[in-house]
Amino acid sequence: MSNTAALEHSWTTGLTQGLPIAAGYVPAALGFGLLGANSGLSIFETALMSIIIFSGAAQYMAIGLITAGAGLYSIWISTFLINIRHLLMSASAKQSLFSDSKWKQAVLAFGLTDEVFALISSRRNKTTVFFGIGVFLAAYISWVAFSCAGYYFGAFFPDYLQISMDFALYALFAALLFPAILKYRMALYTAGLSAAINTFLGIWLSSGWAIPAAMAASVIIIVYVSSFKQKKGGQP
């Protein structure tokens, strides 16, 4: 590998290219820290979630479920269900990377959030695991630091900022979902059906169970209906 090629795939280049992700995490992480503080979590618990879990969707969901009074197992099951997507992302990211030692891959795997994955897999050429680790570090430092900042300083934000920060969780979900439903019709159907079932089940069930139930039901229905359509010779 020539020097310029080596530089293109170095972890410092990854760190620089990860800056847009780090910037996108700022409001989401501030919102998470503020939410942790408002939900009665300690700074230790809030920071530990960002340090150990490093998954915005799972962390936000967990705080929502904790305040709704959900139990340990229902939160763990929901965590698994919302993170199943990573099985596919990691499998796909692996194809975008030059093979490397197992421990380096294991380090990168910890940091493969939706956005880190998207950046690595949207590059035209294969890249190194070290480049990926650089992207991961930029995202991780921002996520952890601004979670803590949100916890401590969120209460000092002016009211109008605090009100909109409460919505940061949904802005994060929307940022992950909306580009996909504009591109894939199946994503639109699945998300719409799941939202409808969840709204309906929410009348009787706590959200700790309504959300996983709605996810499972909507996916089974959509897969079943699309297989039926394919047998009939219709468009999938």
Binding site: P20, W76, N83, D114, Y160, I163, A191
Partner: protein, 100 residues
């Protein structure tokens, strides 16, 4: 609830879903219907997480509706992850400044 146990468990579960494909899981060997289900699960998760929660977020359903509309418009005009989050929170702050 034991918060430490909850957090460590969530961390382990999240890490397992991210690391397993690197070492053992060959997605291509699973039945097509299972592959399809796996692909759709994230959208099902996000759909259920977004609604009705976004409309029940304080201060009221109109504010939530406004937030969703802003996020959708930014996505519709080609905005990606960072633009959607920062744009939505920025414009919502502006709206909240004038309304509340």
């Amino acid at each position: 609830m034991n918060m430490l146990l909850l957090i460590i468990g969530m961390g382990v579960i999240t890490y397992v879903t991210r690391v397993v494909p690197f070492f053992s899981l060959n997605i291509n060997r699973l039945p097509v219907s299972v592959q399809q289900a796996l692909q759709l699960i994230p959208y099902a998760a996000l759909g259920a997480l977004l609604l009705p929660g976004a409309l029940r977020s304080p201060p009221d359903a109109w504010f939530g509706m406004l937030g969703l509309c802003i996020a959708f418009l930014i996505a519709f005009t080609g905005g990606r992850f960072t633009a959607i989050i920062c744009g939505t929170i920025g414009l919502l702050s502006l709206a909240a400044f004038f309304i509340y």
